[in-house]
Amino acid sequence: MTKNILLVGVGGQGTILASKILTLGLQKADYDVKMSEIHGMSQRGGSVTSHIRYSEEKVYSPVIEAGCADVIVAFEKMEALRYLNYLKEGGKVFVNDFEIPGMPITSGQTEYPAGIIEELKRVADTTVIEAEKEAEKIGNPKVMNMILLGTIIGSMKLEHIDWDGILAENVKPQFVELNKKAIRRGIELSR
């Protein structure tokens, strides 16, 4: 059975690195893996999505269908709601309690919408992650993305994969320990 994970966020939040680490882990565990990213204008504050699909059998499409995601992990809370149509019935949402206002908001045309988390909770199995606070506790706000990756690992029961080894191969040596801690914290928070 193919599993579908959707990572959403805003350009610059580290979704691309998180999905890279995730796909490398899944590959190491001998799953067939496909991943698709749309990041055309992301560097300029646009919304970014990574679709990750894996299975013990062959995976064909790299793109998740609407209504089929097992998990949505949102690095920014409004992005969770933007892509909620991808979540399947009974799917899980992990949402970072973090706001990045887009241009229409900073320019004063409209306000950052209130009640997003409440709406998510109303319709889906939602876990709120205070990734910024957690990252600061670990000692570096940049590991927010690895904490959120940890929530995926925990919720999809992928703890048996050698994440430490994958980090060692893909992250600068001075950041490996920090990232390991962040992933472990994410796993704890997913429960």
Partner: protein
């Protein structure tokens, strides 16, 4: 076991180029194709280069093939329009060693100005075409394309789409197979395309196509998967994956990878005995037309159903949910929630972008029409600047401006001036000839070259103005001002676009002139990794921060008109996000109360 690696389609094409023993590759950056040449440039065995435009890239690759090395060029779909001229004639001559061209199309227009289907180019130019569906095929088909190119003495087109380019799947890595350079032998009757020779070659092209038509039906990339059903699916490229998600083993498949010439015999064999066939292809009805030509209109469901009604959408991506909806007639089951809480997140110029001050000033002027171009600066069209009237394709800013101005000036007493705006890389790409047209044909418009010292939009590729090659080796810096002068422009000013007063005064100067002028705004892109030259010229760039003095701020929101993502208003006072601010001072200059330092 061979080493497996997760790769994007683009990385896999580059790997295929490497393993095929290619020695020369050229490209111009363009989404979604850019990473192909970026990856190739990391292989030291290959001479890889960013060319000023796609036409040059293809021509230099063609030359390299004549020189006797396997050669390669890649481009986005609209890039092949630029390179179409050599493409059609190279189809007659073929190369000396293998020559392969990649076109990266954009169903859904994620990052493009149109959605053209470049499979039509293969048919139009009579060039064989391959369509990989995943990264493994990207690598394998690239290697295969070189074999095909040499066997049939023809360039080969590989057509990929955004989802093939930018999705990752597993690829088995092999070794590079070095190939000796094929000695050059003069053969004017083949390579000199005067009519007498080209007519002979034209006949050769037809012979080659006849052979390829037969080859296509037996080709390993065109395969029937018979599941013993009465319904069939024909699809190529990424669409076959979408189809397999929807239909599983409930249909027979004809998976097409070699799609020009189409395998008509194999298609006929597949279609015979079916009650129904779905033709699943993004963009145009390229395969569908062939199915109908074979006489299967009555069972064919493609872009149109047998009754002539629309079936699959005419445009956009045909992802599996789209296909499923068309086939079952049912909407996907999704949660119902309040989507009104979602606010759009349109792309914006970065905090510190040197285009900001320029467009802020441009947007305020009522005496101009702005003809824009392709790059980050196209965002100047949007709020709060609203500083662009049109844009079309690379270089059209300058030539378009010339045309608009000529007609406006036909009306007596016209006071409007037309401004063509384009970036440094776009100027090298195809703005130079347009500027020449202004000078030669007595045009009278203003050209602005936004020189941010890099090709920004596609993720910072080197260009002739930066002083570095694709591999980062130092090279001659091409002087934009010198080119403009040599073309014959008499009025040239080079300005700092972050100095609003200077931008304003320079425009007043240009608008008052009765002759064409060029304004070069020179400041490095805020995201650029500063080169040694940049550090010398702008030692203080992006090292400061701006701050709002809340005691002085009256909450007038004038600074928001800069469109800077670092500024917002909270509790009726402007606030600057210090993690984003790089101290360009545009907001400081706008503030009427001197509340920003």
């Amino acid at each position: 076991m061979a080493k497996q690696q997760l790769m994007t389609g683009n990385e896999a094409i580059a790997r295929g180029v490497y393993e095929a023993g290619v020695r020369f590759a050229a490209a111009y950056p363009g989404t979604p194709s850019t990473e192909i040449l970026e990856t190739i440039s990391t292989y030291k065995e290959i001479s890889a280069q960013w060319s000023p435009n796609e036409k040059v890239a293809l021509e230099v690759a063609y030359g390299a093939s004549l020189g006797g090395a396997r050669s390669f060029a890649s481009m986005k779909h609209v890039g092949l329009n630029v390179a179409a001229d050599p493409f059609f004639t190279i189809a007659y001559t073929g190369g000396n060693a293998g020559l392969v061209v990649v076109t990266a199309d954009e169903p859904g227009q994620h990052s493009s100005q149109n959605e053209q289907d470049n499979r039509n180019y293969a048919r139009h130019a009579k060039v064989p075409m391959l369509e990989p569906s995943d990264s493994a095929e990207c690598k394998a088909m690239t290697e295969f394309a070189f074999e095909l190119s040499e066997k049939y003495e023809t360039p080969v087109l590989i057509r990929v789409t955004t989802r093939v380019c930018h999705s990752k799947s597993l690829v088995e890595l092999g070794e590079r197979k070095e190939r000796a350079i094929v000695p050059y032998v003069k053969n004017a009757s083949k390579y000199v395309c005067v009519p007498a020779n080209a007519r002979v070659r034209r006949a050769e092209v037809e012979k080659r196509l006849d052979a390829l038509k037969i080859y296509s039906s037996g080709c390993e990339w065109n395969k029937i998967e018979n599941n013993g059903k009465k319904t069939g699916v024909i699809a190529s490229g990424m669409a076959i994956n979408y189809a397999k998600e929807v239909f599983g083993k409930d249909v027979n498949y004809l998976k097409l990878g070699f799609t020009f010439p189409l395998p008509m015999k194999l298609m006929d064999e597949f279609l015979k005995g079916l009650d129904k066939v779905y033709v699943i292809e993004e963009n145009d009805e390229y395969i569908e037309d062939a199915v109908k030509m074979l006489g299967y209109k009555n069972i064919c469901y493609g872009k149109f159903a047998p009754d002539g009604k629309r079936f699959f959408p005419a445009f956009g991506e045909l992802t599996s949910d789209v296909v499923r909806k068309c086939v079952t007639g049912k909407e996907p089951r999704t949660l119902s929630y309040d989507a009104s809480k979602v606010v759009g997140r349109p792309p914006a110029l970065c905090a510190g972008c040197p285009h900001r001050g320029f467009f802020y000033e441009l947007g305020k002027r009522k005496d101009i029409i702005v003809s824009g171009d392709i790059g980050c600066y196209t965002l100047g069209f949007a709020a709060p600047y609203n500083a662009m009237d049109c844009n079309c394709c690379m270089g059209a800013s300058v030539s378009g401006a010339n045309g608009i101005q000529k007609v406006l000036d036909m009306v007596e007493g016209n006071k409007k001036r037309v401004v063509g705006v384009l970036g440094d890389s776009t100027f090298f790409h195809s703005g130079m000839t347009s500027l020449l047209d202004i000078v030669y044909n007595k045009g009278n418009c203003i050209t602005v070259i936004l020189d941010n010292r890099i090709t920004g939009m596609t993720g910072h590729q080197q260009n002739p103005g930066t002083g570095f090659t694709a591999q980062g080796e130092p090279t001659q810096i091409v002087d934009i001002e010198g080119i403009v002068k040599a073309i014959g422009i008499k009025h040239i000013r080079v300005i700092d676009p972050n100095d609003l007063k200077l931008v304003r005064e320079t425009f007043d100067w240009a608008v008052a002139l009765k002759e064409p002028s060029v304004i070069i705004t020179r400041y490095p892109c805020v995201l650029k990794k500063m080169s040694i030259y940049d550090k010398n010229e702008w030692p203080d760039a992006y090292k400061a921060k701006c701050k709002v003095d809340p005691a002085k701020c009256i909450g007038c929101k004038a600074c928001l008109k800069s469109g800077c993502p670092a500024i917002s208003v909270k509790d009726k006072k402007a606030v600057i996000d210090e993690t984003m601010c790089v101290g360009c001072t545009v907001c400081k200059q706008i503030c009427p109360k001197a509340a920003i330092n």
